[in-house]
Symmetry: C2
Subunit: 322 residues, 2 copies
Amino acid sequence: MINLPPLQQAPNQTDLLVTHEAIHPFVHRTPVLTNRSLNEMTGARLHFKCENFQRIGAFKMRGAASAALRLPTEVRARGLATHSSGNHAQAVACMAQQLEVPAFIVMPHDAPKVKVAAVLDYGAEITYCNNTPEERQAALEEVVKETGAAFIHPFNDYGVVAGQATAAMELLEDTEPVLDILLAPVGGGGLMSGTALAARYFSVGATAWGTEPRNVDDAARSLVSGKIEHNVDNRTVADGLRTNLGECTFSIIHEHVPKIFTVTEEQIVTAMRHTWERMKIIIEPSCAVPLAAIFAYPEAFARKEVGIILTGGNVDVDKLPF
Amino acid sequence: MINLPPLQQAPNQTDLLVTHEAIHPFVHRTPVLTNRSLNEMTGARLHFKCENFQRIGAFKMRGAASAALRLPTEVRARGLATHSSGNHAQAVACMAQQLEVPAFIVMPHDAPKVKVAAVLDYGAEITYCNNTPEERQAALEEVVKETGAAFIHPFNDYGVVAGQATAAMELLEDTEPVLDILLAPVGGGGLMSGTALAARYFSVGATAWGTEPRNVDDAARSLVSGKIEHNVDNRTVADGLRTNLGECTFSIIHEHVPKIFTVTEEQIVTAMRHTWERMKIIIEPSCAVPLAAIFAYPEAFARKEVGIILTGGNVDVDKLPF
């Protein structure tokens, strides 16, 4: 079994190459799609890295794989733990199943049934708690104490960041024209950090820009103020992007991401619908934020070769926002 | 400009190769996707040729291109005509736009607005008529008489069949394991005929099987009776498959397709939903019929390498059947 060295600081070029090689058996190499209609509508040339086709339906698989492979063998054997009601929970559960170790997931009582079922399908054990940050944290600490399992943070972990970077690495490798811009949405910042590092180490001068719902624009404000800002109200259709940055991800984003575009709820839903109708692929609302930014700020993208990480496609088709 | 020779009989191997080469500038080479979940659920190994990603969102683009390129230059210059309220209308309109010739489309008054808008977007001229076969035919004849445009039949045309065959040719070329079975849905039989000929000429012994909604099982009954059967009632969620076979397509299917599986409405909707949820791609109900057959007759597909033509993704996301 592979053991990657733990990362005490932002991954460098070699760390990313080694990570990409190591996680390869546990993740899919997803395709890059283009679309004539969306190119015509935006005036840019768009290259979509389809992480909605990734295992568990989202890029989170990459970070979970990278972090789990960095645990010493004897620690890993006790199992993987996390708290999440979203894609990260499925990613940790799926990775544990692949490694044949236990998974312990803390989820709120009111988590969507479909998410609960998916996590159970991977053989994970669920601990339910009330849906407040304090109770989730307390429940997780209790689980870790009881089981000895290793906590895998959803984003504030350099190992997770190294895993998320591999999506942009593959996008750069699989795109024929030289990309001018890489776009990703920003939630906790794991994907954004990884994407920025991939641009830094593996592109010929591509800029990594962030995109964020205006309703939860903590990262955009953090870039301006130079410290981690928080959201007072976190209502947005892009439910994967409600989180604030962590210390690890903020430090990388602050250094490597020059700009974060923000978009309205309506722009997000419209971009999601355009993607469904023109590309015939299913993406979740959070995933539509980069395309929404291209429509909202066309002058920034006109005639540019733009790489977009499509983050995930886990949406309840009975509860669409349009 | 390319001119292909007209086809007076079923296309042979050379005809298909020449057609594939000729239509290449007018159509996309669509990807072949696989899906671990659906493989596990069915016990087969499935290879999906994603014609839902084709130009105009459906395989019909291929047949329209092939037929149009077979028209003598002076005929083609007068324009392309057809009657259709579905994907074939968009395909003819899109091909005419690419050839820079006029398109004349006869559509019923009550055609979905989204289909009308798509045809108009390609610069076609629409003639509206009442929604009966007789009035559509009369309106078409009037248009052809007035404009001198060439009628492109949606399926009963060896040129159209040759175009539709190219989807399966690419699927066979782009799939690493040797395919045992090719599956397509049967409406008018253009795609099914082409798929069967591709299997005959370009595979190492793959069998082409048809799949059809039980509610409109005219093709399955035609195979049994040895003559073209008709549907009395054509109510099905798979609205692209209501048509009966034509002489050209029946003769090819009768010779080259040993079996047509039929499936219920519920099986179609379930397979459509599985495809959306597991593959994260949008397919229309007609497109789900082959996968529905695999779920319905698992013993016929167990452990087989199965190629499936995903025919199209043009669905109104405001009116889903689930």
